[in-house]
Symmetry: D2
Subunit: 232 residues, 4 copies
């Protein structure tokens, strides 16, 4: 039995959504003590309070998806002349603010200890245009750009901040079970993916595990797309 995270305390946000469930399962199987948090984190003080009550965080998995009312992906599509300010605010509130605030709070304790790892689970969409997703991509682009700089800033403190950028990975936010069960929907996605199939949550979780352990020791601010070759 493997135990790559033995003795590590790991905080996973939005643990019930997106890639939270496979990450929690894999990280526990690898011996981690996982704090699987399911709060929305949209309140201005929520992220800091969560960090404060979590004790020592060796690894933060900043997994964020939302807002729930906009999901799945078919509901997120909008023309560039028709998106509403409310929709924009929804993505900024669900994706940008929680990430910035929880990274800020977690880094404080990691810098103090001189060690720690942050793995953000963002998206590969800012790497390649998907018509209809301009607003979503803007929010994910803010996340990715923020993490690139913070990764450079954190590296001299022996804290590794990196990200994985999923696209075309089965998950409970961007797809519904009906969509995944519909052969024609599935084929329309698969035609675009070099691997010829959608990815599984545990495949992305394995990459997150790599970044949460030794594979990221000399990475800083790296975004790694995980998309079956859809983007590289």
């Amino acid at each position: 039995m493997s135990s790559r995270l033995d003795g590590r305390r790991v905080l996973v946000t939005h643990a019930h959504r997106y890639l939270g469930p496979p990450v929690v399962e894999l990280f526990r199987a690898e011996g981690a003590t996982v704090l699987a948090d399911e709060s929305e984190l949209t309140g201005p003080d929520e992220p800091e309070e969560l960090v404060a009550r979590s004790g020592r965080i060796d690894v933060l998995v900043a997994n964020l998806a939302g807002p729930p009312e906009a999901m799945p992906v078919t509901g997120m599509m909008v023309r560039p002349t028709e998106f509403t300010d409310e929709a924009v605010r929804g993505y900024i509130d669900a994706l940008v603010w929680p990430l910035l605030r929880i990274v800020r709070a977690t880094l404080a304790q990691m810098f103090e200890r001189g060690s720690g790892k942050i793995v953000a689970i963002t998206s590969a969409t800012p790497e390649r245009a998907i018509p209809g997703l301009s607003i979503y991509s803007a929010a994910r682009g803010a996340q990715n750009a923020f993490l690139q700089v913070v990764g450079a800033e954190a590296a001299p403190h022996n804290v590794q901040v990196n990200a994985i950028g999923p696209a075309h990975i089965e998950n409970n936010m961007y797809y519904t079970e009906d969509m995944l069960a519909d052969r024609s929907v599935r084929e329309s996605f698969e035609a675009d993916i070099p691997a010829g199939r959608l990815g599984k949550g545990h495949e992305a979780a394995e990459l997150a595990l790599a970044l949460a352990s030794g594979a990221s020791d000399f990475l800083a601010g790296q975004l790694i797309p995980v998309s079956g070759g859809w983007t590289t």
Copy 2:
């Protein structure tokens, strides 16, 4: 005398700031009718109202910099454990909201006519980490990701949306005259730039002109860094 923009109506935002002045000067010299707008565009309805009263816009130069109180670049630097929510909000309000809203409003008339060009002047910083600029980079990253998607969406309407990403270009927002006159400050910048010097505003304006005319006819959602090779 050159007249590459003869008869074109061009709206330039934040015309008194950042790369506004050299763009206005060059575009006028090329025969354009330039609407040089100097409003902040931070009010929710300001961008739409500006577009409404501008009449036909053949070219939008979405030049945005700010917020003014955070400038110059030395005042923008902050540690990733210490930035404030107010600072984040400042950048989102000055850079992200105005861009999204003015692009949305302008595209509506351009789609109707089946032609038009948008040149956004954003930043190359999301392409390469500058420690201290995590929040600024997040806002610029949101801009760049948004434009990439909108570029793809607008292309079939014969509307070209692209961006230039300045870095290390002399301008009145990120540098003060004192900084530019100080030899040691200048040298600290120049050491990092393959070209061995800071760029001039009119050099970036020439690239903006290219994207505002024939050179962008088959570009869609492209970001072109203009940084003397600092990033490519």
Copy 3:
């Protein structure tokens, strides 16, 4: 009438192929003296001899395509278990060696004068995988990586070296007239291009013109894809 290249001496290689014809036409219309060279440039000394007999070269357009016997694109497709050493050698000989040698020879005179511009016409394929084109992409990748470094090296000499990376642009090497006339072939390409159409040669030539004149004054080693948004 426009005259953006008045008095400039421009050398265009493979002038009868790929984007040579539209570049020659546009650059002449802009007042340049164009040396339209049609030699293969595969002999080890050919590039240097061409430069030697060309006199002053203000602008080099390093347009290279080939080898002719492998064209069009349907003939270039090969499985990664089946390409031959001969095919590899063909692409290296047609694309890599001529570029390296002619850039080397041209830079010598440009460095001496302290001015000059090189615009390479390579390909966007190294930016996004096209199954079947591994060998072709390797040769184009060598070109792009070489130019990025040379661009940085040349910039302090006031010599601007940059590249455009065409993809999905009509030309006489990668497409045949039959392919372009066949509606289903055309549609299979177009489905992949955000702009919804193939590009025209003169559209790429306009971008080359921008890089051959003021728009590249503060660019160094930049590759600009021109592909209707297929890659950005």
Copy 4:
């Protein structure tokens, strides 16, 4: 004790050079049967013969560095007006040909079995210009572009082809012991690396291990720089 490669047969090329030694050590510690090959692989048939006599290869680590006579990095530096054809040929022969040939030969058996992993150890230099390294970067650029396409082609066969791109990692090819022991040399490198230090071979080996095991199951043609944030 960990055993992430238990029962896996791994072929490592140039096993005595570059990142070969730390990869061999780590992969053996993880239970792999490692074939540590030390041949130059510059003969046209060498790669295929090596694959033929290696039996089943579950994982190929295509680690290539050279040519030995050009190393270390200080000996590789050359101006863009002065590199020789011999130098170019040296890099193509040492880096490009062996990679193409050994990947071609290995994929044949992996496609037949419907499984396998290839991890190439190339370089991050094509991602960011280092003056003096134009020729070296061209060869590494050819490798990276080739692997991106092959990764897409191999993915539907359940074969994952990916790469790590080291930069600023201690190794026995690009640095000498004297260079690494010289404080001023070391500091000149470190000033450029966000992490503030050179990387260790075993840190890159850990990333190679991730790509040789579960972390790459939904990656295809991905290049991951490992450079302490020097490039991302």
